[in-house]
């Protein structure tokens, strides 16, 4: 990413009183958001609560995606592949293998994604920039066509059903589908988001994260400082695949179906859209982007049949006018407010 687009290393600046003040404000907002999310099912309409589930799913997926994009500087147009792997993992495990443990499903699907990501990543990290994007797009579509064509295994264009999993062994069979989704499943996913978010925060602020940023800023210099560029890029790729698969599992359980369109390249494009919408240069940007996108899309869909057009216009506006996304705009406003004080 060029200098003009990223004005801060995500998560940088830990020292100084200024940083501390920023951190406190951020912490307060974070806690407030968590409280709202935790209380949401009790005061909001079930329809809106069911929207939050895909938002959780994409928030987790994008945390991983942005490790690769915002922090390492690699734009993948094929990460829907891993989301789809997660979805199909959940489908195959629940309906074909009778495995209901949500914990096992998450782990198995995540690992499956990592295993697939190894050969894809090994090939892809040999390239940068546009070539990386096209190559990942190619792999994504390869997987999509595999899902589509081999309908004996994958159910073709109808996909495979995803059955309700057991959360810590409990299937809550007394609840109907909606009650399960906006009840125990909702809270489980919220906790999952917090845990995975915390893990990603640590990763990003670790020496590993520092190296990724160095690779993004100037990979040649990073080499001269002893950084094994390809290895680190691959590691980031694998971690991002894992997170995307987790997101895919949640999505599939929410809809009850794993279908091949999840792997289509335009879905990968949406992942990028959401990340940039929220702000790729900020740790919380992708999280914000997931929520904003899901709600925006839902509202647009209810307003007009030409919602794709308006989504496209939104993306164009973001790219041209607000490249640092919602968080970028928020940060600019915050600095303006502070200056006036």
């Amino acid at each position: 990413m060029s200098e003009s687009d990223v004005t801060a290393v995500p998560g940088s600046r830990q020292s100084g009183a200024n940083g501390l003040r920023r951190h406190t404000a951020l912490l307060v907002m974070l806690v407030a958001a968590l409280i709202v999310l935790a209380l949401f099912p009790s005061f909001a309409q079930p329809y809106y609560v069911t929207l939050v589930l895909p938002a959780f799913a994409y928030a987790i997926a994008l945390l991983g995606f942005n490790l690769l994009f915002g922090y390492t500087g690699l734009l993948s147009f094929g990460h829907a592949l891993f989301v789809a792997l997660g979805a199909y993992g959940a489908a195959v495990l629940t309906s074909k293998l009778g495995i209901k443990s949500f914990e096992l499903i998450l782990l198995a699907s995540g690992l499956a994604a990592v295993v697939v990501a190894i050969p894809v990543g090994l090939l892809a990290v040999r390239y940068v920039r546009i070539f990386f994007g096209i190559l990942t797009l190619a792999f994504g579509m390869l997987f999509h066509s595999f899902l589509f064509k081999f309908y004996n295994i994958t159910g073709g264009d109808t996909g495979i059903r995803v059955l309700r999993p057991a959360l810590f062994g409990n299937e809550f069979s007394e609840m109907d589908k909606t009650a399960f989704l906006i009840g125990p499943f909702y809270y489980y996913c919220l906790v999952l988001l917090v845990v995975l978010g915390f893990v990603m925060w640590r990763i990003v602020h670790s020496p590993f994260g520092l190296h990724l940023t160095a690779i993004r800023e100037n990979s040649r210099k990073a080499e001269y400082l002893g950084v094994r560029v390809r290895m680190f890029r691959l590691a980031a790729f694998l971690i991002s695949a894992f997170y995307c698969a987790i997101g895919g599992v949640i999505l599939a359980i929410n809809t009850g179906q794993a279908d091949p369109e999840t792997a289509y390249w335009t879905h990968s494009g949406e992942l990028v859209f959401m990340t940039v919408l929220g702000g790729f240069a900020n740790f919380f940007g992708p999280l914000v982007g997931a929520f904003v996108f899901i709600f925006l899309k839902s509202e647009l869909m209810s307003l007009t049949q030409y919602w794709r057009f308006f989504l496209g216009v939104t993306l164009a506006l973001i790219v041209i006018l607000f490249p640092r996304g919602v968080m970028g705009v928020a940060q600019d406003l915050w600095s303006k407010v502070k200056k006036q004080q």
Partner: protein, 259 residues
């Protein structure tokens, strides 16, 4: 003294163009070797061979007794040699502290740790501060690299190379683009840093003959890919033919200085 770096009969040809022709040299601990010569003499090619970037067409290049032909920058850093370029390389959005931090961490096993926190690593921070102070950048630890002045960027570039605690450091025109008043300042900082960082030998590619005369322990002059001279400064500048071949008109002044 055993050689830290040595090349034996290194030649590099690109088709019919011979960039280096049978260059043999050795650098031992405690030396500051300056590589001089007119443009096109093969200095950059020699440096690229010495730093494992280029494989010589013939001959060998060894570092601490091991063959380093074409091993690449990452392996080189691991073995204990660092390099700073003439053109400044920075990480634009990273602060001075983070830049130096990358170098410090990459050499330890810490680099693969996914969950260790950079912010709370006291050892890392003190080491970073140490390096930054030597180069006069301690007041700018939290400044983003792209906001530094050109001179400061250059210092940071060199500082990050030193932060690798290399045994040998290779500097490509470290004082280029710097005013003559500052040049000596930079050289003194470099010598100081070398002592602190435990650097055993420095190889310098320089055009400024005054600096070369004052700081080198030995000078190698290249011309058209061949070694023209390999002498300590006193003998080097005492020979008018050699000086003429390398610098031309400044002969008179140079021989006066060396006397």
């Amino acid at each position: 003294m055993t050689a830290l770096i040595e090349t034996v009969g290194v030649s590099k040809a690109y088709g019919s163009f011979v960039a280096l022709d049978g260059v043999s040299l050795s650098v031992a601990s405690g030396e500051l070797l300056s590589v001089v010569g007119p443009n096109g003499a093969g200095k950059t090619t020699l440096v690229n061979v010495l730093t494992g970037l280029l494989k010589p067409s013939s001959g060998s290049v060894r570092f601490k007794g091991e063959d380093i032909a074409g091993i690449g920058p990452v392996a080189l850093a691991k073995r204990g040699m660092a390099r700073a370029f003439q053109l400044v390389h920075i990480f634009p959005a990273m602060t001075v502290a983070q830049t130096i931090g990358v170098a410090v961490v990459s050499q330890t096993s810490r680099s693969l740790r996914l969950f260790a926190s950079v912010a709370t690593d006291a050892a890392l921070r003190s080491r970073v501060r140490e390096v930054a102070t030597i180069f006069g950048l301690d007041t700018k630890l939290d400044t983003e690299s792209r906001l530094l002045s050109q001179g400061e960027k250059k210092l940071l570039d060199i500082a990050s190379a030193f932060a690798l605690t290399p045994e040998v450091i290779l500097l490509d025109e470290p004082t280029s683009g710097v005013s003559s008043g500052d040049k000596h300042g930079i050289m003194r900082t470099l010598m100081d840093a070398a002592k602190h960082a435990g650097v055993q030998a420095i190889i310098l590619v320089e055009h400024d003959m005054n600096l070369v005369a004052e700081y080198s322990t030995r000078i190698i002059a290249l011309k058209e890919g061949k070694v023209l001279a390999d002498l300590p400064p006193k003998q080097f500048f005492a020979d008018p033919d050699i000086v003429a071949a390398v610098v031309g008109k400044l002969v008179g002044r140079m021989s006066q200085r060396a006397a």
